[in-house]
Amino acid sequence: MKIKMSTLITGFVFLFAVFLAGCGEQEKPTQASKAPEKAAEQQEASTAEKRLKAGFIYVGPVGDYGWSHAHDLGKRHVESLYPWLETVIVESVAEADALRIMDRLVQQQKCDVIFTTSFGYMDNTVKAAEKYPDTKFMHCSGFKRTANLGTYFGDLYQMYYLNGMMAGALTQSNKLGYVAAFPIPELIRHINAYALGAKAVNPDATVDVKWIYAWYGPDKAKEAAEALIAEGCDALAFTEDTPAVVEVGQAHCKKGKQIYTFSHYSPMQAYGEDSVVSGQRMDWGGMYAEILKDVHEGTWDPSRDIWWLAKEKAAILGGSPDHAINPKFIAPLKQAMINTEQYGDISAYDLVMKRYEQMKQGVDVFDPFMGPVSDNKGESKIKEGERASKEDLLSMMYYVDNVKGEIPNSN
């Protein structure tokens, strides 16, 4: 018996139609069951307080274990906190597509607030805010604000300073390394804070920097970390959205060579129990909670720049949710004695904890960028007794004196 091609196709199309029809039937009961639910929801909304819908746009996948992951944790926090809040997320949104996604979130999802969580979305967020004056926009890490567009950011430079202190106290080679994503002011600020922290406990410590030109680039980060170790660095901090550097440190520790690493953004100590000393963590939850509460209560003010640090509990010290410092390294840090003008002889551990407490009280109590600070070409940048202003921090494009090399293309 011969079956012709056309018969096959017809049969196939028929099967497909049956399949679709089957699905269609499946659809009906679910829709029916949804309908009363929706009615109940609406009733609830009219009787209870007004509801809010917030859209979150992430630049990476939520599983990146760095930036987008941290934002998503913040989103989950507010979701469980506020019963009147509904959220929708869109991940891995290229800058080129951001405007289209915002259009959708406003037009179709009817979001009241939209959070765009990457610097690269700035111009598109400004355009969207112009287009939809009734929707509130919050752009993370940017600097453009309008009547319905605010900005918010949590910065980690203080934590890098504390990490630098620990690195400076623990290093054997006096050479510290930093695997860095892109030469932008934020990163320069973090590298400088790390170097200044190291200098505060160890005047001989210097910092080498390797640029990988990627926020998400585990392969490049691994390579850069290996290169720094080969050049003699034994303490590594980094800015990259995966635990790649921590894993390199752990691998060397397993082979008997102690490499100290500092976890970035998410708690990465689990990836390197023998290597991770401490790290920087960011809690966006508190910030999102406050912003959404303001929006809900009508007290939202987009002209206010939200810039949260240790004082607001946005920046947190530690590489795991349980410890600020890996217990394994507490003893060596307690043994490392430092002679300071302010406190006389004090252990590195006590000094770190003291500084952390002071940071929590506010930048006017202690801040890493207190003068005198000069760049690595000998020019004075922050005068004695002065503190870098926020504008200085946001446009920082020089290396402090114990960072080696030059910022690429800093023309």
């Binding site: 869109v90 080129a96 690269g120 030109y213």
Partner: protein
């Protein structure tokens, strides 16, 4: 006993070709449905959502057309190269090079010239940029017999790194606070859009003209005939005295040039500045390979297949926003559709018979 007999099929009609594609798409959607089913989403609802989002509303259609512009331009250009069996995998790089040339032209000549002059200039510059990047592998292939799949693919990376070097280095804008990227293009070089949309119509018109023009070039001119002979029967081409170098250079200049035009459209029509390679193009150079293939290497059909794939990309938003599935699902959907389309070709060129033989 059941046996499957395959034999070559000679009577390939356009209708059969069309029906095979439809059947392949249907089978692909069926396979995708299984994935949706596994993720706990009603497949009919999911597939409907994808097409409603892209073609079911004015807004969706506008976005679909915006996305289709680069896909049509590049896809049409690729049909010419693929006709001659020149496997140009480097459209992404050619697009970026076009964007680089256009940005340079706009930044240096834009402030002094009116839009009527600068817009044709940046498109010319973009075409030249893409064409130059396209003819390098053509020379390497014809003169030194170096595989063009490798060279075009690798030139993508070289171009992406070159662009990155420019935007973190000498071209870094003063208005970008140290972030990589050029300053915005001068206003005169920014392409107009249809009101209420992001459709930069100059590029759209250009894309349609190019598709029609290429169709004439391939089917009605001596050059088109030579290009097809080079692809289908190179030995016959050699005996007939076709200049392989000249033919390859022209077809890669056109193919690369059209990708370059797409780059101009993206930079001057959408972004208005030159940023990271990934933000200039979201992989259009690669998606366009599927577009050319779905168009059966006919540049005119590339308009339809470009719109179709743009629809899938735009409709892909639904996968995340309405269905709450991860972003990677969109890529999976695209990949599965391509595999089924290619598998469909097998049934087009081969006759399959299932026989029950009495042993």
């Amino acid at each position: 006993m059941i046996r499957i007999i395959t034999s070559d099929r000679y009577n390939i009609t356009p209708l059969r070709s069309f029906m095979t594609n439809i059947a392949a798409l249907g089978a692909g959607i069926l396979a995708i449905s299984l994935i949706f089913l596994a993720a706990g989403v009603n497949p009919l609802y999911a597939v409907c959502q994808i097409f409603i989002e892209s073609f079911g509303s004015i807004y969706g259609i506008k976005e679909t057309i915006t996305k289709a512009i680069p896909l049509i331009l590049i896809g049409a250009g690729l049909t010419l190269a693929f006709r001659a069996k020149f496997w140009n995998i480097g459209a992404e790089g050619q697009l970026l090079m076009g964007a680089v040339f256009a940005t340079w032209t706009a930044q240096h000549l834009g402030p002094a010239l009116p839009p009527a002059l600068i817009v044709p200039l940046i498109f010319t510059a973009g075409f030249i940029g893409g064409a130059l990047w396209g003819i390098i592998p053509a020379i390497l292939k014809i003169k030194y017999a170096i595989n063009e799949v490798i060279t075009t693919l690798m030139l993508n990376y070289i171009c992406a790194e070159f662009l990155t070097m420019l935007i973190v280095g000498p071209w870094k804008g003063k208005t970008r606070f140290g972030f990589p990227g050029t300053d915005p293009l001068p206003d005169s070089a920014i392409l107009g859009v249809l009101p209420g949309s992001r459709i930069h119509y100059v590029t759209l018109i250009l894309a349609i003209i190019c598709s029609v023009g290429l169709c004439v070039l391939i089917y009605k001119t001596r050059f088109g005939y030579e290009a097809r002979v080079v692809g289908e029967n190179p030995d016959a081409g050699k005996y007939a005295g076709i200049d392989f170098l000249k033919t390859s250079l022209i077809l890669m200049a056109v193919s690369g040039g059209l990708a370059g035009l797409a780059g101009v459209g993206e930079v001057a029509g959408i972004h208005h500045y030159l940023g990271y390679p990934a933000s200039v193009s979201s992989g259009y150079g690669f998606t366009a390979i599927i577009v050319a293939w779905l168009a059966k290497l006919n540049p005119l059909f590339a308009i339809a297949s470009g719109l179709f794939f743009a629809g899938i990309i735009v409709g892909g938003d639904a996968i995340q926003i309405s269905l709450g599935l991860p972003a990677a699902t969109v890529e999976i959907v695209n990949g599965i559709l391509l595999i089924f389309l290619i598998m469909g070709d097998y049934f087009l060129y081969n006759k399959i018979q299932i026989c029950r033989s009495r042993a």
